[in-house]
Amino acid sequence: MNPFFLPFVAAVAANSFLTFGFGLRRLVSAEGGGFPRVFAPALAVIIAGFTVWPVFAFFLAPFSLGYLEMMFLVPFSVLISTVSDKIIRSVSLGTQKQTADLSAFSAYDGLTYAAAFMILRLATSFIDALLFASGAAVGYFLCAITLHAIRERSDTEPVPRCLRGIPLMLIASGIIAILASFLASAGFLALGTHL
């Protein structure tokens, strides 16, 4: 079994959104923004994979930050999010509104922070960090696509009015999270027999 496959699959099935609820507001609310709205957080998570592990595991490791790690990790994740926002805005020049996304300053509702936090806890090498980050980004992206499809469908189906919008998105997220945990368990079991 390819040793790179396990951390990737783990991160896709058990991504920060489904496991902890980070990035929730962005996914369940129906504000506009098109694809940059989904791509920017996913890109921020991937950038976190490239940068967090080298910075915190090499440059800051000798300082043994302990509880003070948060003092650096939160601003660092916000910085990554704003950089990602700028990149996406520059790429989508002319097709989307070019104002800065203020949710980047909350690290996309903690999504980037959670990815950075989990990378530092789970990754044992730079490759691990990259695989974990790309898996988390793919997992978030798949959740976003699924929830977007559910939202569109709910506009045409006879859904009770009090459930439409955010409540329905939350309930759908919960069901997806249950399914993902079953899939992750089954996947790990299958992988475990081949390891």
Binding site: L18, T19, F20, G21, F22, L24, R25, V28, S29, A30, Y67, L68, E69, M70, M71, F72, L73, V74, P75, S77, V78, S103, F105, S106, A107, D109, G110, Y113, A114, F117, M118, P160, R161, C162, L163, R164, G165, I166, P167, L168, M169, L170, I171, S173, G174, I175, A177, I178, S181
Partner: protein
């Protein structure tokens, strides 16, 4: 005539639930009452101290770098809280570690610092404590429901983890463990929002029930 604006848990567009700022804490850190108590303490500590000091020192903060200075300051206050709380409750603080980072981010996302920029320092503290109170109230109610139905217990934090105050054997036997997972939090919170909308429609007659406002 009463309006939804008078209702503290929802209020205007800046209220914690209408803006959904801090909703990650409401779902992620409320699997037990003990965890919700620690997160509530963190929210009160960080909101009150950060808003007060940032308001008092606002004239010395260059406007060009205001956002970044705020983020670093609020993160530092949260790290200080983690250090202090870690002495009293080392195990629960370690278990809640991923969620503490969301406290400063929730404060930034709530826009509270900008909204109270023109207020007096005393008024700033009042506003921040009021907002923290709303967030913590909802967190504790959610935690009580989730722990009671999920584990059949109610607990408070201690140095080694949790102390179970109330155990109900019959409830424990029927416990719905999925309620204590994040998935259960999503579903419970979704139904609570729907119930609120229905109640709001009945009491205030607001016909916007079903749109994307909370």
């Amino acid at each position: 005539m009463k309006t939804t604006r008078d209702f503290p848990f929802w209020g205007d567009k800046y209220s914690p639930l209408a803006s959904l700022a801090g909703v990650v804490l409401l779902i992620g850190a409320t699997s037990r009452v003990s965890y919700a108590l620690i997160i509530s303490a963190a929210i009160f500590f960080v909101y009150a101290i950060s808003t007060f000091f940032l308001r008092v020192s606002s004239r010395f903060i260059p406007s060009a770098h205001r956002t970044w200075i705020r983020i670093v300051f609020v993160s530092t206050v949260t790290a200080i809280f983690c250090r202090i709380a870690g002495i009293a409750w080392p195990v629960p603080v370690k278990e809640l570690a991923p969620y503490f980072g969301m406290v400063p981010l929730s404060l930034i996302a709530s826009d509270l610092l900008d909204r109270t920029a023109e207020e007096t320092p005393m008024r700033t503290i009042q506003a921040s404590v009021y907002e923290a109170f709303i967030l913590c109230g909802i967190a504790l109610v959610l935690a009580a429901v989730r722990e009671a139905f999920g584990y059949g217990t109610l607990s408070i934090p201690n140095a080694d983890g949790i102390t179970v105050l109330i155990t109900q054997e019959s409830a424990a036997a029927l416990s719905l463990r999925s309620l204590t997972a994040t998935a259960g939090g999503f579903i419970l919170f979704g139904y609570l929002l729907a119930a609120y909308r229905k109640n709001r429609f009945r009491r205030y007659g607001i016909p916007r029930c079903g749109e994307d406002d909370v």
